[in-house]
């Protein structure tokens, strides 16, 4: 059904200006362009108020862009049909509090044109997956914040869509829940699904994302492949050596680890040279550990440059 040339999400020069009170306008997004390929997991990273939720709300048709266009699975976001193959999790979801989880999922299932039998079966599956089975027949009114978040996630998985758009999926979850969400995201990736999710937490991006888009002040700052970013961030190596002559690491920071093991920090540009010396003069390598800037440092760098 889906041809290769159609991207899951295509955003082109999207701008959004909120009309504030007393004529004060807030420019929340300006000229944002971003394409999410089929089957990739893309993190959407940015500080508070950067415009992440604004972008996502435009994608889901809740608000209209001031200018620019966006498509989901090739259909313009203004068309309700564009949302058929999409699972969406709002930021701090607010679900009908007088319905039970099962009733809410049934409503969603009907909207996704699922038949009665698969609604029952799939509801049960996602409720179990998100550990909500016991609360499933209670009204949402009595749910805790994390349970509502879980139900919101359950809804996105209900109809097994191709594209997931999640606004801060980890927010409000306990460590078990966070781990669960990471597992779910990895599973989605292995099944070729497309995921676009916003977050503040760089560590989550590191673990699950293929690419990361950074947005600051309504402008897209960078889009990078996470692995390349991490590789480019290697600054040096901690090397533990055995039986090595101290002359070899004169001028480098070193610290003894055990009676015959010494740990030496070698900057990235001197790594090859050091290995060559070691090879010539004798000495065994016990352990090599790359020292890299993590994504957090990149993120802070980008923010700092602004």
């Amino acid at each position: 059904m889906k041809s290769e040339s159609i991207h899951s999400i295509e955003i082109s020069s999207l701008s959004k200006t909120y009309k504030g009170r007393k004529g004060k306008a807030v420019e929340a997004l300006s000229e944002l362009s971003l394409t999410i390929q089929n089957g990739e997991i893309c993190g959407f990273l940015g500080p508070n108020g950067a415009g992440k939720s604004t972008t996502i709300k435009i994608l889901m048709g809740l608000i209209t862009a001031t200018s620019g266009t966006a498509t989901l699975c090739g259909l313009p976001v203004t068309d309700p049909g564009a949302r058929k193959r999409v699972g969406y999790l709002p930021e701090n979801p607010s679900l009908f509090d007088y319905l039970t989880a099962r009733e809410y999922l049934a409503l969603c299932g009907r909207a996704f044109a699922m038949d009665g039998e698969s609604i029952l079966r799939e509801s049960q599956r996602v409720l179990e997956l998100l550990d909500l089975r016991e609360a499933a027949d209670r009204p949402v009114r009595g749910y805790s914040k994390g349970m509502v978040q879980r139900l919101g996630l359950a809804r996105t998985l209900l109809h097994d869509p191709d594209v997931f758009i999640l606004d801060e999926p980890m927010s409000g979850l306990d460590p078990v829940g966070r781990a669960l969400v990471k597992d779910i995201l990895k599973d989605l990736k292995s099944r070729g699904k497309t995921v676009f999710f916003s977050t503040h937490i760089t560590a989550d991006v590191e673990v699950v994302c293929d690419r990361v888009a950074v947005i600051v002040g309504g402008r897209l700052r960078s889009v990078d492949v996470v692995d390349e970013l991490l590789e480019s961030g290697i600054e040096g190596y901690d090397i533990q050596v055995k039986n090595c002559a101290p002359a070899l690491y004169a001028g480098l920071t070193s610290s003894p680890k055990a009676s015959d093991i010494t740990e030496i920090y070698v900057p990235r540009d001197r790594f090859n040279e050091f290995l060559a010396h070691l090879g010539k003069n004798g000495g065994d390598i016990h352990l090599i550990e790359p020292k890299r800037k993590d994504l957090e440092a990149f993120f802070l760098d980008i923010l700092g440059k602004g």
């Binding site: 809740l62 309700p80 049909g81 969406y88 979801p93 607010s94 009733e103 969603c108 909207a111």
Partner: protein, 267 residues
């Protein structure tokens, strides 16, 4: 169609699970059951009084319901961000408004029917204790309640339209009351300025008043209480026209509500 039914049922469930609305329904039910007692105060026209009180109680209840439900509909879903959990499904804004209205409408119609069924034994009881010269015209009573239902569907649609613009309860509630009062009186005002009094006014103001008359819903057209109480006959043509008028007006209000809601920015 299944989606529309699902949306309707969500609205209905919201109404039925609301404690305050159930309390109001209970109060009205109690009031109607007490009608025979009230009717005793009239020594001669017990049956007429029983019919009057019953019809008025039903009418007032439906007014309160349509006002409350219509005025607290769309803006409240927006404020509670229910809209963000439903309109991000493949659900159009039109389907949402229509589902909302049909839920409210079904509730109003069912309440009207239910209260009619309750009022039958009550009126029978009151009438049997002091029989009147005129037999009870059940058909007319049913028609009066039917016309009331249609009238309050119009009120609900009006309140729903205002609630698509609003961010709070006050605008839709008071604007609907204002239009309701004006629309209930407009017929008399219209007849007044069309007659002798009109010739004393400036032609421009007469034109404005007549213009407002044609724009405002004419609620007095739906008042069929008098024929119900005294057993007078109706003209089928008039009834059909009133029904058509009500239906067309509701459709226009809903189209406007959909147009406005489609452009609204949601949180």
């Amino acid at each position: 169609m299944r989606l529309f039914l699902a949306l309707t049922s969500v609205t209905l469930r919201g109404i039925l699970r609301d404690r305050m609305l159930r309390a109001i329904l209970g109060t009205v039910l109690l009031l109607i059951l007490l009608v025979p007692v009230f009717s005793m105060f009239s020594m001669r026209q017990v049956q007429e009084l029983a019919i009057t009180i019953t019809l008025s109680a039903i009418s007032f209840f439906l007014l309160v319901m349509s006002l409350l439900l219509g005025s607290s509909s769309v803006w409240r879903d927006i404020e509670r961000r229910y809209t963000s959990s439903i309109l991000t499904l493949p659900v159009s804004r039109r389907a949402y408004i229509l589902g909302k209205f049909s839920g409210i409408a079904i509730f109003i119609v069912c309440c009207g029917l239910f209260l009619f069924l309750v009022s039958v034994p009550v009126i029978m009881f009151a009438a049997s204790s002091y029989p009147s010269d005129v037999p009870v015209h059940w058909l007319n009573i049913a028609l009066a309640i039917g016309a009331d239902i249609l009238k309050y569907l119009l009120v609900a649609a009006l309140a729903l339209l205002f609630s698509t613009i609003s961010t709070s309860f006050f605008l839709p509630f008071f604007a609907t009351i204002a239009v309701y009062l004006a629309g209930s009186a407009s017929q008399e005002v219209f007849e007044y300025v069309s007659g002798q009094f009109g010739t004393e006014l400036q032609p421009a103001s007469v034109a404005v008043i007549k213009g407002v008359y044609y724009i405002l819903p004419n609620f007095s057209a739906f008042n069929l209480k008098v024929p119900a109480i005294y057993g007078l006959s109706h003209s089928p043509g008039g009834l059909a026209l009133t029904t058509l008028y009500g239906v067309i007006y509701v459709v226009i209000l809903l189209v406007l509500a959909i147009k406005i809601f489609s452009r609204r920015q949601l949180p």
